[in-house]
Assembly symmetry: C2
Homo-oligomer: 360 residues x 2
């Protein structure tokens, strides 16, 4: 089934020949067509169309020493969080005429080869969320290409983007306090420099400001099954003590996954949420609003974060210097699980729109 050599097709030479012009003219037609006479341009365009000409990006990249592509390094996406980040990034990139090359951080060994390969084909790279690569790797990349990081610890020479965490976590915790909760625990492992780490800080600040002590800290991984296990553990202790759920009346969770699992399992076991135990999440996932009771959470403008990162990266490639870290505001979404009782039935989020301008 001898296919015509894939990835070949007509070149600028064939188009030039067919249009009766030189390759320089064809090239100009495709880049700055204003320098080409209208008649000539049309002839070239016709020829190109007839031949199904597809410009070879590699050749162009080689000639101009720029690939017009941005690289993204992500941990294996799961959940809407990374997807949204990626969408925001892609849309912004494509508006700038830049392609996006994806690299999911795989097993450690293959990782460095993959990153090297990525580097070779892009003009700049964005590291999203820790887990994608360690700081050393990021630093190394930053030495070779403009680099930005999103929702990730700071690294020198790298523009950092975050969704606001600390302040909002503080607000959230204060809100819980206003509801009358006093024995407030935290769920999630606060790795340094991570989002959850910053949320934990805000939580501590709020408690401190109110003269309260942290009631408990469950440093578990931010995943569903850890939440389920923790719920089971708490329920078991409760049974033994015949006591007060280990002296807790509220739990601030590092993300929705954890919170959802806790709410569901606890409620299943007959614990009154939020009456007996208030629980909050973070991320405002779809599930948060379908949970019973509705999960109080925090909405982050993730898509915007991605978009900002892409634009900044493009600017850096264009020669602009590094800038300080950028924080995008997050907002509390109050539902029933914290103790509120919003009359609203099912609020659903507006379509996320990607802002067009960069805000600093």
């Amino acid at each position: 089934m001898a296919e015509r050599s894939v990835t070949s097709g007509p070149t600028i030479y064939e188009v030039a020949a067919r249009a009766g012009v030189s390759i320089a003219t064809v090239s100009r037609t495709f880049s700055d067509s204003s320098k080409v006479a209208a008649r000539t341009r049309d002839a070239v365009l016709d020829a190109a169309r007839e031949l199904h000409y597809v410009p070879a990006a590699a050749a162009r990249a080689l000639a101009v020493r720029r690939s017009k592509a941005l690289g993204v390094v992500l941990p294996h996406i799961d959940g809407p969080y990374y997807a949204e980040l990626l969408v925001g990034f892609e849309i912004a990139a494509s508006e700038l005429g830049l392609s996006v090359v994806l690299a999911l951080a795989g097993p450690q060994e293959r990782r460095s080869a993959a990153v090297l390969d990525l580097l070779g084909r892009v003009d700049g790279v964005a590291f999203m969320a820790r887990g994608g690569a360690d700081d050393a790797a990021v630093l190394e990349v930053a030495g070779v290409r403009p680099t930005v990081s999103v929702a990730r610890g700071r690294v020198d020479g790298v523009d950092a983007f975050y969704a606001e965490n600390r302040g909002t976590a503080r607000e959230l915790t204060e809100h819980l306090i206003q509801h009358g909760h006093r024995r407030i625990g935290f769920v999630g492992r606060p790795e340094e420099g991570s989002d959850i780490g910053r949320r934990h800080r805000g939580y501590l600040e709020a408690l401190d400001a109110a003269g309260l002590a942290p009631a408990a800290h469950f440093a578990v991984a931010p995943v569903e099954h850890a939440g389920l296990e923790l719920a089971d553990q708490l329920l078991a202790e409760q049974r033994d003590d015949a006591g007060g759920l280990t002296g807790l009346d509220a739990l601030v969770c590092g993300n929705d996954e954890l919170a959802m699992a806790l709410v569901a399992r606890m409620a299943d076991a007959g614990i009154d949420i939020p009456g007996r135990l208030a629980i909050t999440g973070w991320d405002d996932t779809v599930t948060a609003r379908y949970l019973t009771p509705g999960l109080t959470s925090v909405r982050q403008e993730v898509a915007e974060l991605g978009a900002l990162a892409a634009r900044r990266l493009a600017a850096r490639i264009g020669g602009e210097p590094e800038q300080g870290p950028v924080t995008v505001a997050s907002t509390l979404v109050l539902r029933r699980s914290c103790g509120c009782d919003p009359a609203a039935p099912l609020t659903f989020a507006p379509i996320t729109d990607i802002p067009t301008k960069e805000s600093s």
Copy 2:
């Protein structure tokens, strides 16, 4: 802040000079290093490391006439569905040493330019889900590059991949019938060749086989707010009739989004789900298992679908001919919303693992 011309860095020439060999040897070292003497290879590798050499993918691509990259065209990702598809695809691609270039289908006008650009930088492209591009566009691409489609209508010359829909929809509907439901409606617009279209077909077949007639068909868009609106409409009619929810006792929904919205709104309004009205979804999203009652749905091996598509695409690029469409099995996930009462508390899905071999 005159940065060193980005995207430049040392070339194979500098490495060769530093290692005291010719560029051919450096090149060989990086490709088939078995043809290079061990001492020489080490010298080259050392030099490369010292210089932070990054091979220019564009130059290589130009020389070998192959970019080692696959393109993916997606509608704007939202929800875990596309994310999972993409992850499966990326993992498989990277195992094959191929990069993934992403193109989200944007506004119509910019779309063709974006696709052209994409074509120029990849060896093959995967169209995922309709909405990414119309059939004509796919066909055109297929004439120029090996092409596969995933969860999308068939197009000549394009290898197609689907999650099983019709048979499972039939099973699901039969299941509902076994529960004693007779007046079963369908929710979702069955665009031809779409997944939902195939689900609708299976639903009709089951009814037909049981000698039942479709009780209703609400051809709405497969999105949350359409589900909410439909729920409100049904509730309003119900109030007027003081009657039987327009003669329905079960609703098969085209996807989870629709089903979730219906379940939540109906339950909120005091309708007994599934007692008064059974509802099923499709996709087995996270929310399905956290909904009250749990949403009966269908799990699709989406990541596997993506992986299969990537491998097939690679094979096509390697010269293999087109093959018939491939279907990946889907499985019913029974929860309470259909009338079942699985004792299990909160079942949670196993980590999706990407199968290593292609099954046909």
